[in-house]
């Protein structure tokens, strides 16, 4: 199974009567999520807003988001995949080993109640965070939850959406897909895109010391990446485009100060549901925009003699 059954945030606002946050802490990490999209707004088919919705939080600890939840389910750390698998079995009325269920940290009664809640919802949604996608099991956890959402559609309407953050990371994904076919971890060294997370992702390239230069745009890997990656960035010519001084800019060979996108530079940002929003800068900046700098670097690079490239394969072959 693969794929994703999802929707735009307005569907949640207008229809969702069961909101499940899994492995995320929106109260602190996405503070407008409750009020703007998921929990509080009065929607077309949930006219009473919060009163018409039930919120479940699944997490390993009681975060501030638990206060907003009607039901808090404390899953044992590292047991998300097991819990999802139990849920997938139970929605289909398949027998589940009680010991396996107990191993998830939840009682059979809690699980049964949760299953009931999901199947009876008119429109349910899973919002999942890095507590699911970046802990033991990683992408397998995400895949399991997406599968559960897909399978619930045999009973009712159910969707799932990752709680993405870090500015316009979704926009980066979207553009990589239309230009290269892949969302991230793309290697263009052969002149065409190759995709292999774990081999071509930034961390892997830096860790192995494969990269002999780095251009860092709208990110601060010097603050978040493993130390050997940071050390390698300090060794090679690293160029940072950023409005402010960052951990990365301190170790970079070149730091070009650019205008702040959205404040003094225009553009487009993609929401976590991949809806594009125009950015209208209210202020002017003495600094160039990221786009302008990249364009000028590109034009300068183009003046150099071209590297040999592979011949274009014949068109329209079957």
């Amino acid at each position: 199974m693969g794929g994703k059954v999802t929707c735009t945030l307005g569907e949640v606002k207008n229809r969702a009567d069961l909101i499940v946050y899994w492995g995320g802490n929106p109260a602190e990490c996405h503070p407008r999520h409750f009020t703007k999209y998921a929990l509080m707004p009065k929607g077309r088919f949930v006219p009473n807003g919060r009163k018409d919705r039930t919120m479940v939080l699944v997490d390993i600890r009681e975060t501030p988001s638990a206060k907003a939840a009607d039901i808090f389910l404390q899953v044992r750390p590292g047991k998300d995949f097991e819990l999802i698998t139990v849920l997938r079995a139970m929605i289909k009325d398949q027998p589940v080993d009680a010991a396996l269920a107990a191993d998830t940290g939840l009682s059979m009664e809690q699980i049964r109640e949760f299953v009931d809640l999901m199947k009876k919802a008119r429109f349910g949604v899973f919002f999942f965070g890095m507590g699911l996608s970046m802990t033991r099991g990683k992408h397998m956890n995400s895949a399991a939850l997406l599968t559960l959402a897909a399978e619930l559609n045999a009973f009712t309407k159910f969707v799932a959406m990752p709680m993405r953050g870090h500015g316009n990371v979704t926009g980066g994904d979207v553009i990589m897909r239309w230009t290269t076919g892949y969302p991230f971890g793309v290697n263009l060294a052969r002149g065409y895109p190759r995709f292999n997370p774990g081999e071509f992702s930034t961390i892997d390239l830096l860790l192995r010391g494969d990269a002999d230069a780095a251009l860092v745009l709208g990110a601060d890997p010097g603050a978040t990446m493993p130390q050997p990656c940071i050390d390698h960035m300090a060794r090679i010519p690293t160029i940072v485009l950023d409005p402010k001084v960052t951990h990365t800019s301190r170790i970079a060979r070149v730091h070009i100060t650019t205008a702040v996108t959205g404040i003094s530079a225009p553009g487009t940002a993609y929401r976590m549901d991949e809806i594009p929003l125009p950015l209208r800068p209210p202020l002017k900046s003495p600094y160039p925009t990221d786009e302008e700098v990249v364009r000028r670097i590109y034009e300068a690079v183009r003046k150099k003699p071209p590297l040999p490239v592979h011949a274009m394969p014949k068109l329209a072959a079957v």
């Binding site: 794929g3 239309w178 230009t179 290269t180 892949y182 002149g191 594009p276 079957v318």
Partner: protein, 549 residues
Amino acid sequence: MTGNSKLRLRGGRVYDPASGVNGVVQDVCICDGKIAADVAGGRTIDATGMVVFPGGVDVHTHVAGAALNFARAMIPEDHRRHQQFARTLNTRGGIGGSTPTTFITGYLYAGLGYTTVNEAAMPILSARHTHEELRDTPIVDKSTCVLMANHEILLDLIEAGELERARHLVAWNIWAAKAYGVKAVNPGGVAAWKWGKDAKALHDPVAGFDKATPAKIIKTLADIVDGLGLPHPIHLHCNNLGAPGNYTTTLETMRLLEGNRAHMAHLQYHSYGGDDWFTMRSESARIADYFNTHPNLTADAGAVLFGDTVTITADGPWQHLLFKLTGRKWGNIDVENETGCGVVPYVYKERNLVNAVQWAVGLELLLLIDDPWRVYLTTDHPNGAAFWRYPEIIRLLMDADFRKEQLKKLPAKALSRITLPELTREYTLFEIAIITSAGPARALGLPNKGTLRVGADADIAVFNESKDAFAMFSYPRYVIKAGEVVIEEGEIRKSVDGKGLLVRPQYDESIDDFIRPKFQQYYTMAFDNYPVELERIEHPDLRPCQTPN
């Protein structure tokens, strides 16, 4: 954009159906990006022994936007299996396959001699995204159809009988999305899918509504499109796509549209008989019989070819069914208040009875509809097959013996369910020029496309004349876009930008006051962020509407 160079194509065999030119050896002259009566000086290309066509026009394809980009992310295995395109000094690198990357889409279309494409399904909410992808789709000119048949504010107006206001709403949305036409997908069915339901009967109210029925939505939208004088008629994906026995729905829908212009999208998927998957059969003859006597209609084939592909449609409920049938990947995005979309990878197999019937139905419709001016070559890319496989279909249409050979590969049971074995018609080059270029250009209301008459856009494809239609149409010798030679000796020599085709239908500006509060209530985006600014369209070409009646 527009070539300022002069060019003469000398001595080619010219097929220009719109001017009635059928295989006449004559020169074609180009000046300033347009076809000219004569030209002095400039480059001369010797086209002796070659066939000259107006550049291809694809009336229905899915090449850009949120749904297609969602599909790209879902099928890395498909990307790896298909062709990879390395960058050259003139072209960008990318991926071919079922969902080519944007730059490769432009190159591949040009590589078939196509110079205009119509992206057939654009939600308004993500129109900005669609246009960003289209900017990155080189060479071809691009138009878009905006999805309106499940737009809940419109459905509310239909429910309330406020049809005048509905017209302003539709016109406002076309301009907000910077679109060219109106698409209706499974009218009412996608709105119902938001509750996990579908709209199967044309006269039953849509789930969540009391009076709005699929029939009312279809009729209202068709009237609005005609009333606004849009160059392209309503672009309709009927209810019950893909379902056995759905030909009755299709016939009923076509009857509803008497008195309107309408384009029936991917008719192949709507021409099935039988009661279930085991008894499914072709009803293309009945559809074609009706269609032949109703000149208000045009259609595209939506033909299927055997092999791997990925299906992408705004028809959410159908995709859920397809997921249940295949058990493979399933992607779904419901778009607030407007539409939905489903993505399911799929393999059409020769030995599969249902797939065999689908394959035959697409060809049957192309052969049974008498007037090539009203039926066009498409595969509903990428649903039936990727667009770069069009030459395979052209060969099947032009060669009855080859068709017979292919029929032998089908399961014996399938042969009694289809009429293809009885059809001996063979397309001529003149007719191929109609279904790939002149016809769709006319249906889209683009008088400067699909023709080589003086003053038309100099979009031209030049093929080596050959008995092997597949080879001939797979590798055009020259392709000229707006007077620029973009393909020469089968290679991309130059990549130019295409235009963005759009319309601005008339509407009462005060409709803003009606939409704004509803928008703020139902949507999650600020109202002022919703319309796409004209500056976002690269090389916009504002096409005229006829005077509203």
